[in-house]
């Protein structure tokens, strides 16, 4: 792993360098960018995408994908919203939300492992099914008026300074990092993505570990849902549309190979922050919204290209 580790540090170091370069450029254009509040804002902005992206990294590492994360988020939002407005204890509601996310992910995993449907197609299907369920639950209407105590619990600020979602993001990143690097499950996730057949022929229960990985994707989406619900105070069944693409982008920028077997939680975490730093920077410097799309897309392509260049260098 020594050689690989060097490479990994290098890779994540590269994102950091890009991040710093970006901070310097945006600060030069508008000094407000470097202000404490703005930086807190950048990290907070990245929380939702970061949570989903870290989750989706597990699916991608197994050489799969999960397109249904946005719809999973919508179901969790409306269900937890309904429970909260009917007076359920916020702590219990949060656990129910996480459980729902996990189960929706597990369902994806079962479609992929038991019915042998390709991950892209299986989750393309559930993306639509889950979205439909979210609409059915509320009849298409948003769930309004989230109780204050829930909003404070999830989206408040510690000492009135640091937003709680930042802690949720970092906490989830630490737990998933440990899962990936210090448990058998993590080793199997890498080896399934690297060579599923060889892993299966080593007597590893590939199906179980894949299902768990997709369950974890669901948990990431559920956590993002809770943050979004607390921040907005309303639960819309339309929430989370297109979030899967931002999440995949963060993972790709972070060095996760869409072919599976390669990537890290730290990389995805930094990828999400970089995307958010870019978006905030473009807003702060007054760049037109249309150009923001172009900039975001270009960054993805450049990052993945540099990744390729780096791995070629590493080979030699």
């Amino acid at each position: 792993m020594l050689k690989i580790k060097k490479f990994k540090i290098f890779r994540e170091f590269g994102i950091l360098v890009a991040l710093f370069a970006m901070v310097i450029i945006f600060t030069a254009l508008n000094p407000i960018y470097i202000s404490f509040n703005n930086i807190i804002d950048i990290i907070q902005q990245s929380a939702i995408n970061g949570l989903i992206a870290i989750g989706i990294t597990f699916a991608i590492l197994t050489a799969g994908i999960d397109l249904s994360v946005g719809s999973t988020l919508a179901i969790v939002i409306v269900v937890v919203g309904k429970f909260l407005t009917s007076g359920l204890n916020p702590i219990i509601a949060i656990f129910i939300g996480i459980l729902i996310g996990f189960l929706l992910g597990v369902f994806n995993g079962l479609l992929i492992t038991k019915l042998k449907i390709q991950p892209f197609v299986a989750t393309l299907g559930t993306m639509s099914v889950y979205r439909g369920i979210a609409y059915v639950i509320t009849g298409g209407w948003p769930v309004l008026n989230m109780p204050r105590d829930f909003r404070n619990l999830v989206s408040g600020r510690v000492f009135n300074i640091i937003p709680i979602p930042i802690f949720i993001l970092i906490g989830f990143a630490i737990i998933t990092h440990i899962l990936l690097n210090h448990t058998r499950f993590g080793t199997y996730v890498y080896s399934i993505g690297g060579n599923e057949e060889a892993t299966r022929l080593s007597g590893v229960n590939v199906e179980k570990n894949k299902v768990l990985a997709y369950g974890l994707v669901g948990v990431g989406a559920a956590l993002a849902a809770l943050v979004l619900l607390a921040r907005l105070g309303t639960g819309e069944p339309t929430a989370g549309q297109g979030y899967e693409l931002d999440a995949i982008a963060a993972a790709a920028i972070g060095g996760t190979s869409l072919a599976g077997g390669k990537g890290s939680v730290l990389g995805t975490f930094l990828g999400a922050i970089l995307l958010s730093a870019l978006k905030v920077g473009l807003i702060v410097t007054g760049v037109d919204t249309f150009w923001q799309f172009i900039a975001t897309g270009s960054i993805i392509i450049i990052a993945v290209y540099l990744e390729h260049v780096q791995s070629q260098l590493y080979k030699k």
Binding site: K3, T187, Y190, S191, T199, R200, L201, V204
Partner: protein, 505 residues
């Protein structure tokens, strides 16, 4: 240069960062001869071919064809110059027709559109020359591996090749397909085409080659006239030391009568039917047969990679239902598969992780993985298998073929299985590593483990086995005892499958 010589390598040196793959290699190849290229894995054969075929550009020294110094910018230029390669792993597009594959990128055209009539006509002409019984319009995916190889040769002829190199062409061929290939090679030779032939199978060199050039560690050793040399002499020059390439047992055979695995009427349609045999403790049970005998399917089913239709698998007296490799592992059965790259090891994992893959569940901690324990565990087995380099953190994919195979073996050594199934344990492995693998097999049975060894190399299966199961087209045709072993007998049961002529064999 005389008219005879077609290719001349002149002080060719190729350096990769950290490795001198070729070191001042000079020799020549005559027109219309079959010239074998020999050497262990890593001796520089592939590098030399890659230079000749324009895959590598940056090298020192000169390559002359006829009298011209050549420098191809890419493989296409080499092909157009009449130098074609038939790849080790046949590279064809299965969904296209034979004709489309042969003419790929050089399709005959009628204005802007492809002229299919002309394409098939030209392709069929070449196929006839090669005595192929398939046609240009057949889809490649419906053909056998041997037939696909013929397409590669046809492709070379389509490009009017003067030099064709074949890299391990018989690795996946049945013996009748090999015979056909040899006939074709002789005809090509008669037509003045020069053949460069790379193979680990020395028997073939003596059947087909005129000259044999040996490379070792990137250096030219010697060009032999095949007529005037012997296997032992070739091997000696390949490895630089006296070893017998022949598998043979050094320790006395002492298996017990205790049956560890009993297979009764095992059936998996449409692959194989009614397979029954017993494996005894401390025994190496060879599995011989031609390609298509479905030996791999049988052993995969016993291990649980495939699921049986019918029949019994009895392990240590217990009738068990093995549905997955995990069941196989739990019943003490391990499989070292035929294709280590696609089935044996995981390319993005290091040695410690690859070795640990099957045994992590045995570690103490139930949730967290102790990396130290994993690495220490792998070191034990890295020592046992004499891995080079002995580094648990080295990526397995960067090892040589033989060492990769040893890692896959170590993965199973690290579990507590007592029945090892080897599917072609020395396929694509160089002579030195072969010897080490044979020794590991012997050590295993000496410890009371039992082995099933599928092998297509007759000297190997004869040299290593205590008994040999012979299969033909999904049926078990004979179980031979040690005293009855002979190549002729095995081939008889593998090809004819009957007992009738037994006395005459």
């Amino acid at each position: 240069m005389s008219d005879q010589e077609i290719i001349q390598f002149n002080n060719v040196t190729k350096v990769f960062p950290g490795v001198k793959a070729l070191d001042k290699v000079s020799f020549k190849i005559n027109k219309g001869e079959v010239h074998a290229l020999l050497g262990e894995n890593g001796a520089g054969k592939s590098t030399l071919l890659n230079i000749l075929h324009g895959v590598y550009q940056g090298y020192e020294g000169k390559v002359l064809i006829k009298n011209d110094v050549i420098k191809f910018g890419n493989p296409h230029e080499a092909i157009q110059f009449g130098i074609s390669k038939v790849h080790q792993e046949v590279s064809l597009i299965p969904e296209l027709t034979v004709g489309q594959n042969i003419t790929l990128n050089y399709e005959p055209k009628k204005k802007l559109l492809i002229d299919y009539d002309k394409m098939h006509e030209e392709a069929n002409k070449i196929l006839d020359k090669l005595h192929c019984n398939f046609r240009s319009k057949d889809l490649v995916k419906n053909l056998s591996i041997g037939e696909m190889q013929m397409i590669s040769i046809a492709k070379a002829l389509f490009h009017d090749a003067k030099v064709i190199s074949l890299d391990e062409p018989t690795a996946s061929l049945t013996s009748s397909e090999t015979e056909t290939l040899f006939r074709i090679i002789r005809e090509l030779k008669a037509n003045g085409i020069t053949i460069i032939y790379v193979s680990h199978r020395l028997e073939e060199i003596f059947k087909i080659a005129d000259k044999a050039t040996v490379l070792r560690d990137g250096k030219f050793i010697r060009t032999f006239d095949v007529e005037d040399t012997t296997k032992d002499e070739l091997i000696k020059s390949m490895v630089g030391r006296d070893v017998s390439s022949f598998a043979k047992r050094n320790k006395p055979r002492r298996f017990s009568e205790e049956v560890v695995l009993e297979i009764n009427n095992l059936t998996l349609e449409p692959h194989f039917k009614d397979i029954s045999f017993k494996l005894r403790k401390g025994e190496i049970l060879g599995f011989a047969g031609l390609v298509g005998a479905k030996r791999t399917d049988v052993v995969r089913t016993i291990f649980g990679a495939d699921h049986k239709d019918e029949g019994e698998i009895i392990v240590h007296g217990n009738n068990v239902d093995i549905k997955s490799p995990l069941d196989g592992l739990e019943n003490g059965i391990g499989l070292i598969p035929e294709n280590r790259k696609t089935q044996g090891f995981v390319k993005n994992l290091n040695n410690a992780n690859n070795i640990g893959l099957a045994c992590l569940e045995n570690f103490k901690d139930l949730i967290f993985l102790d990396h130290e324990e994993k690495i220490e565990n792998s070191k034990v087995f890295i020592d046992k298998i004499n891995l080079k380099p002995k580094d648990p953190l080295y990526l397995t994919r960067e090892l040589s073929g033989g060492n990769q195979q040893k890692v896959v073996l170590a993965k199973w050594l690290s579990t507590n299985v007592d029945i090892f199934i080897f599917d072609e344990p020395t396929k694509g492995v160089d002579v030195g590593a072969k010897q080490e693998i044979y020794k590991l097999l012997e050590d295993l049975v000496a410890q009371g483990k039992s082995i099933i060894m599928v092998s297509s190399e007759l000297p190997e299966v004869i040299g290593m086995s205590d008994r040999i199961v012979v299969m033909k087209e999904g049926r078990l045709t004979k179980i031979l005892d040690y005293k009855e072993f002979s190549e002729e007998k095995i081939m008889h049961y593998a090809m004819e499958g009957t007992d009738v002529e037994d006395k005459e064999v």
